[in-house]
């Protein structure tokens, strides 16, 4: 896991920004009216952004639609763009916001049919715990098919509180350092540390049934 070190804040990187960050140079070129710079930005980032959003929403077509929205937001800022952060930090932030907005509106649409909402996960820990135990109780002990495991992983991530979800996706799948995640989320390294520790605890509980080490530990106790 090679994590790229990066300053949490890029205060006034200004003219140096273009030299430091090729994407910033492209944004500045776009600001000068060079439309091909935008095409290059899209080409450089489309795979990562679509993949990132897909981690959040779990649907390929929706991920592409939302990724288009992300790039259009980038495009729309071309006249007033101020390089104050790495381009990747900025576009990740937009992508996370767009993804969370999509999930929130999805949550609103499903509000009545989903008994365990995000709020319940956050505020009613006992209920969440009971929910997890129920899930364990009716599982057969047999090894799960990969597709079912995938669904369970998907659900385990979906059920994380928003902030933990963002931190996990950026850390696990984008391989970003706490410093970078803090810059994207607008929070401290210590807060990122705490988010990821709690996310791991939550994920472990929800996926406990699929772990060989979990059984090993129980037999030790």
């Amino acid at each position: 896991m090679a994590k790229t070190p990066m300053a949490a804040t890029y205060e006034a990187i200004g003219a140096h920004g273009a030299a430091v960050d090729p994407d910033v140079a492209l944004m500045l070129a776009l600001a000068r009216g060079d439309e091909s710079a935008f095409e290059e930005l899209v080409a450089r980032h489309q795979s990562r952004i679509v993949a990132l959003i897909h981690r959040f929403v779990g649907d390929e077509a929706e991920a592409e639609d939302l990724a288009q929205e992300v790039f259009l937001r980038v495009y729309r800022t071309r006249d007033r763009y101020q390089p104050k952060a790495r381009f990747s930090t900025w576009i990740y932030r937009i992508a996370a916001n767009v993804s969370l907005n999509a999930l929130r509106s999805r949550g609103r649409r499903r509000n009545i049919s989903v008994p365990l909402s995000y709020e319940a996960t956050e505020t009613q820990e006992g209920q969440t715990s009971a929910h997890v135990e129920d899930a364990h109780a009716d599982r057969p002990g047999a090894r799960m098919e990969q597709e079912e495991l995938r669904t369970q992983v998907r659900e385990a991530i979906d059920q994380l509180p928003e902030n933990q979800k963002v931190a996990v996706i950026l850390n696990k799948y984008e391989n970003l350092s706490y410093d970078e995640i803090g810059a994207i989320m607008g929070c401290s390294v210590m807060a990122v540390k705490s988010l990821l520790a709690r996310a791991r605890t939550n994920l472990r509980e929800r996926l406990a049934h699929y772990m060989s080490t979990g059984r090993m530990r129980q037999s030790l106790a």
């Binding site: 077509a61 929706e62 929205e69 998907r154 991530i157 799948y173 401290s188 060989s212």
Partner: protein, 197 residues
């Protein structure tokens, strides 16, 4: 990077996330477990890292916890990676051009031109839908979201509740053992995307 001082002074969290099954016996176990996640991420250096490693060498329970966390993380590899649609870039560029064109026309004149701009925008949207129709299966018509994205692009710009808002709420629940940085304060939520974080 999470410093050694933090680890040493980190107070035991009597948090609601704790389960009976993982309740550590020793105060040292408790502190180590709170830091296993950062340890796995390579975010602990120096003294903190050394203390963790020394404890892991002599505590089977904490080693088991570490293995579980590692395996949990490995399970997340199960999620599939999407393949980006061939026409993705073409569609984004078409949308961007349509928008730029509409803006241009709107800038050039008064109300009449704005209306012309909207007409151009609508025409461009029809063109983009043409792209969709030709590049996607016929059974897969544009979703309401696609339509929304094309028609209400500007409206969507300002509806973000930035992550920091949740962060403020999150921090309230962290208790006194956590450091809250000024960057996480609600004031930071005013930061606009357009200014680059």
């Amino acid at each position: 990077m999470v410093g050694g001082r933090d680890f040493v002074s980190h107070r035991a969290v009597t948090g609601r996330n704790r389960r009976v099954t993982m309740e550590p016996n020793q105060p040292m176990c408790r502190r180590v477990r709170e830091n296993l996640s950062a340890y796995l991420d390579g975010e602990l250096k120096g003294t903190a890292r050394r203390l963790i490693e020394e404890h892991l060498a002599e505590c089977a329970e904490c080693r088991a916890q570490l293995d579980e966390l590692k395996e949990t993380w490995r399970l997340l590899d199960e999620l599939e990676e999407p393949i980006v649609h061939n026409d993705f870039r073409r569609e984004v560029l078409a949308l961007a051009r349509a928008e730029a064109q509409a803006e241009q026309i709107a800038r050039e004149g008064g109300r009449r031109s704005v209306l012309a701009g909207l007409a151009a925008s609508a025409a461009a949207a029809v063109f983009v839908f043409g792209l969709y129709a030709s590049s996607r299966p016929l059974s897969d018509p544009p979703t309401p979201r696609q339509r929304e994205a094309i028609t209400y692009l500007d409206l969507l710009e300002n509806v973000d509740a930035l992550l920091c808002l949740d962060q403020a709420r999150e921090l309230q629940s962290l208790g006194q053992s956590m450091e809250a940085s000024p960057a996480a304060a609600p004031a930071a939520t005013a930061t606009k995307e357009a200014s680059g974080v």
